[in-house]
């Protein structure tokens, strides 16, 4: 996975193991390595609706695009981040590519990132190069963000689901991916005979 900023030179990705995103985002938040754009998304129109959950302080939107190459299709994902607050955030982006069995195909890539002013937005590109075998894949993009004075970043994440079929990339919805792939099939990762370390029952 290659992560690069929009209209900026390619960042050298930092490669780390799985599940290191939060810790790494804490440690690697950089400063102003991506120029924030001045665009702002249009706010939604108020409308009567059912009760819902409030949005996060940083909105993350992924826009995937399939681009043919000589080695087969390449997947480029534009990572659009929008700061819904007045505070300036430091951000960092982590990406992971896994298949429907939970196997990691490319090491987690972390980009210490961008400074995102309040009520502003920024974009980065993530590139999944050609060369994957046929199968079902999930690209997870995690963005950590924090105000300068905060020690621990909050994170938001989103996935792009796709299938690879004879060098073609077929984008899929999350639901279709779960239904069609092997993600809901048997795939035990460990057997621990006799293990009974459960959760204590408690009373309130």
């Amino acid at each position: 996975v290659i992560v690069k900023s929009k209209n900026q030179p390619l960042f050298p990705p930092v490669l780390l193991g799985a599940n290191a995103a939060a810790a790494l985002i804490s440690g690697l938040l950089g400063y102003a390595s991506t120029a924030p754009s001045t665009q702002a998304a249009e706010p939604p129109e108020p409308a009567l609706t059912a009760p819902k959950s409030p949005p996060g302080q940083l909105a993350l939107r992924l826009v995937p695009e399939v681009l043919p190459s000589t080695d087969g299709d390449e997947l480029t994902v534009t990572v659009h981040m929008e700061n819904h607050t007045d505070a300036t955030f430091e951000t960092a982006t982590a990406t992971t590519l896994v298949d429907d069995r939970g196997e990691e195909w490319l090491p987690e890539a972390i980009v210490p990132g961008a400074e995102l002013p309040g009520q502003d937005s920024v974009e980065q590109d993530v590139v999944v190069p050609a060369g994957l075998p046929d199968g079902y894949f999930r690209l997870e993009v995690t963005v950590g963000y924090r105000e300068a004075e905060q020690q621990h970043p909050l994170t938001t994440l989103q996935n792009v689901y796709f299938a690879r079929e004879e060098e073609k990339v077929v984008l899929m919805s999350a639901g279709d991916w779960l239904l069609r792939s092997g993600a809901m099939q048997a795939q035990d990762v460990s057997d621990e005979p006799g293990s009974e370390d459960g959760i204590e029952e408690d009373s309130q």
Binding site: N19, P51, S53, P55, Q150, L154, T156, S173, L178, A186
Partner: protein, 426 residues
């Protein structure tokens, strides 16, 4: 007299059965009794957690009375609690055989299960399907189209008649649906099941996950159909997705109402809304928050994040703005209503005479007691609406102040109300 009559009756029935058997034998129809073969399978099932919002002392968080500690959050194996387990006969390709399972049971709170199967003969192979439905039919996780999700956690099992096959514990490493189920079961086990008011009404709730109509991180509740639509990444953000929406659902099922629902264009936790929105969102988060922190918690943090909130991330429900409202906690914001509810419930004295502690059930009793109606002068649950329900004519008419009228049943929460910026309307 009674005993002799019973004996006589019993003997009479035996006599008639003998006559019937002789009759059948004469006809060459010897009655046969079908003997089912039985056996059992036991084990335990976990999923690898992908969920944030746990409390982590290593980050400097005060996790006193926290109910979701770091060792149950992302990267840890957690039990699938009280989930339906089905035994199915299986063909050589691992596909289900037959139209119904040959055994059904449920896991315990530790994820342990023992399923007894019964069939006309010993199947050559069986599989275990974990169906994402709670034992007491509290909730199920289904697809966007309403199809029931299940995971085939174990396959190719060779059953043994009159014996128990022990599989041990296993962990499922790639379970988005499993994490949504886990979040839901946490809310139920840590909070909702303690309420005598929620027990009879909170059932048959459907979570549709992942739902493509929801933007990332979004979820929405329709009380009348008991349905929650949830975005794909909600499997990582339990506090603001499953738990918050369960809060909305609980509010509706306790006292069904017509939501006024006009959010501001920039709806946020701290944005100024009408009181109807601010109160509904705040109470939903309060009900949710209790599944993460109990009443003794000095720092019950709420954040919209796929990781831990950290000691300063998001918002503390224990931070009161006092009698003067602040820009970071406006009077008509959801955080202010949530903080009022938390102060009415919790055991921590904030130093301004915060001595009241209402039980969780009492908090819900206040909701359940809310009368129906649309009157603009009485504290009724549909006060925002005109009487034919065609127009919201008083969007501030449903608020924490109306709720307080029923919560304060012999115990006043006026101090808590006033010290949280008095989050009530007319």
């Amino acid at each position: 007299m009674m005993l002799s009559r019973l004996l006589l009756g019993s003997a009479g029935r035996a006599h008639r059965w003998m006559q019937f058997a002789v009759f059948l034998t004469v006809l060459g129809m010897v009655p046969k009794v079908a003997h089912a073969v039985t056996g059992a399978i036991n084990g335990g099932q976990r999923v690898m957690s992908s969920q944030g919002n746990y409390c982590d002392t290593t980050l400097g968080m005060d996790c006193t009375a926290a109910r979701f500690p770091a060792n149950q959050g992302v990267g840890n194996a957690v039990p699938l609690k009280r989930i339906r387990v089905e035994v199915w006969r299986e063909d050589a390709n691992g596909a289900r055989l037959g139209t119904q399972p040959i055994g059904v049971s449920y896991t315990s709170l530790t994820g342990a299960y023992t399923v007894t199967w019964s069939y006309t003969s010993t199947p050559s192979k069986v599989r275990l399907d974990f169906v994402y439905c709670h034992q007491d039919d509290r909730f199920c996780v289904k697809s966007e189209t309403g199809a029931q999700w299940y995971n085939t956690m174990r396959s190719g099992i060779t059953p043994v008649a009159n014996s128990t096959v022990a599989l041990g514990y296993s962990t499922w490493n790639n379970a988005a649906v499993g994490n949504v189920y886990d979040a839901a079961s946490r809310v139920w086990e840590e909070a909702f099941r303690y309420s005598a008011y929620l027990l009879p009404v909170f059932n048959a709730v459907t979570i549709k996950y992942p739902d493509s109509s929801q933007a990332p991180g979004d979820a929405i509740t329709t009380g009348a159909t008991k349905t929650i639509l949830m975005a794909d990444n909600c499997s990582a953000m339990p506090m603001n997705c499953v738990a918050h929406e369960f809060g909305h659902m609980g509010m509706y099922l306790l006292a069904p109402f017509t939501f006024c629902g006009a959010y501001s264009a920039n709806f946020q936790v701290t944005s100024t809304e009408n009181f109807c929105v601010a109160f509904e969102e705040g109470m939903a988060q309060f009900l949710a928050q209790v599944s993460f922190y109990w009443l003794q918690a000095p720092a019950p943090r709420y954040c919209i994040s796929a990781s831990a909130c950290g000691p300063a991330g998001g918002w503390s429900l224990e931070t009161s703005s006092g009698t003067t409202c602040s820009a970071s906690a406006p009077r008509k914001s959801m955080i202010t209503s949530a903080r009022y509810a938390w102060d009415a419930y919790d055991q921590i004295d904030d130093g301004w005479g915060d001595s009241v502690q209402q039980s969780y059930d009492a908090m819900l009793a206040g909701v359940a007691a809310w009368p129906t109606g649309t009157s603009n002068t009485l504290a009724v649950r549909d006060e925002p609406w005109n009487s034919p329900y065609t127009l919201v004519d008083d969007a501030d008419g449903r608020s924490a102040l109306d709720y307080k009228a029923y919560l304060d049943n012999g115990i006043s929460t006026t101090t808590q109300y006033n010290n949280n910026c008095a989050p009530g309307g007319d």
